[in-house]
Symmetry: C2
Subunit: 217 residues, 2 copies
């Protein structure tokens, strides 16, 4: 029974890695679609989100099934409950990619943000992509140093997020209201994407180390 359980946990882990890999592709594509006003890539991100949703729902069913059949306790139980939560966060990360792609689509053939903000959004996009890759690796390897890196990347994202507001509320801002709306939403989506990654990273780090504090399991 124990061996079966371990195999099932491994399947849960593999499925989380699979979803996280798709999320990483989705944010990379969304970032490119957003930066280059690439409409077909934006459409692809939007279509791919259904796949992420379906995989997350299917993983949830597996996790609930494991709870019913294996009736895990203690740490094993927390692993399965955490998988449910990680799946929900990954699903939301996919939604954020989709929202970023939708902004590119709405504004097409115009670019989403004016020139003065592009370097900021390039960096936000790169950081979100880096975070998604690190998250996938963290889920695969449980190397907790990656959790620390994700937290640091998120700190930088928070700075950039605030700098977007400084820019659009500053005296030199010449953007139209549409630019202000897009910058506000796009920045928020990038920041939320990273927040979900941090929340997942904390859970994985807790499970790997037993360090409870702030893991919110």
């Amino acid at each position: 029974m124990r061996e079966v359980f371990q195999q099932e946990l491994q399947e849960v882990q593999e499925r989380l890695v699979e979803i996280s890999t798709l999320v990483a592709t989705s944010i990379a594509n969304a970032t490119e679609a957003f930066g280059d006003s690439n409409i077909s890539l934006a459409e692809q991100v939007i279509a791919d989100d259904d796949k992420i949703d379906a995989l997350a729902a299917s993983l949830d069913e597996l996790a609930i099934d494991i709870l019913a059949r294996q009736q895990p306790v203690a740490r094993d139980l927390r692993i399965v409950v955490s998988a449910l939560r990680i799946s929900a966060s990954l699903e939301r990360m996919g939604d954020m990619s989709e929202h970023i792609a939708q902004l590119a689509r709405y504004r097409f053939p115009e670019k989403v943000v004016p020139k003065s903000l592009r370097p900021t959004f390039v960096e936000l996009g790169q950081l979100d992509v880096a975070i998604a890759k690190k998250l996938t690796e963290l889920l695969q390897t449980e190397d907790v140093s990656l959790a620390e890196e994700i937290r640091n990347d998120d700190d930088r994202i928070d700075e950039l997020h605030l700098s977007v507001f400084d820019k659009v509320l500053g005296e030199t801002w010449k953007g139209a209201p549409a630019d202000t709306v897009d910058a506000t939403l796009a920045s928020r989506y990038h920041e939320r994407f990273a927040d979900h990654a941090v929340s997942i990273a904390k859970k994985v780090a807790y499970l790997a180390t037993g360090d409870w504090v702030g893991a919110d399991l």
Copy 2:
């Protein structure tokens, strides 16, 4: 054992109602703080969010403890797993109230949105407050007609949310960039608040009726 389990489920339900009641107070206060630029009420909403977070975390511990001790299966298992998810959504609803209150605080002593948008935000606030009250009653009574009402209220909120964008992107918009940012974020927070309520309502309706479709349990 079964009787103990039923008592524990009842405690889970009571705690969900307790958190939902606090969320309803929090959105009512946030709406008032937002509409009247009431800074002390805004501060209170922000402080009260810690209480919501703590109650949600404590409920999660109870639910995990029930899973470990009672090892429920089938519908009982889904009730406990749903409680974990409902708790997470209520916690996010509290965050949205907090964000709305923070907007009021940032902008104080100015009002958050210009006159032309105030009726829209008054209605958004009223609908969110109504939804939170209905959600509390739904969690208490499992009267699924309330889930339907919440869905309808959410449809109206989606309309209002879109109308905010129409307004700030329209030719008659004279707002400063700060007004555009605030309207964009405030509208998004009101809309997300309602989305979480709909997601909870679907779960409760599923559990009450066994109608699986779209319940995302």
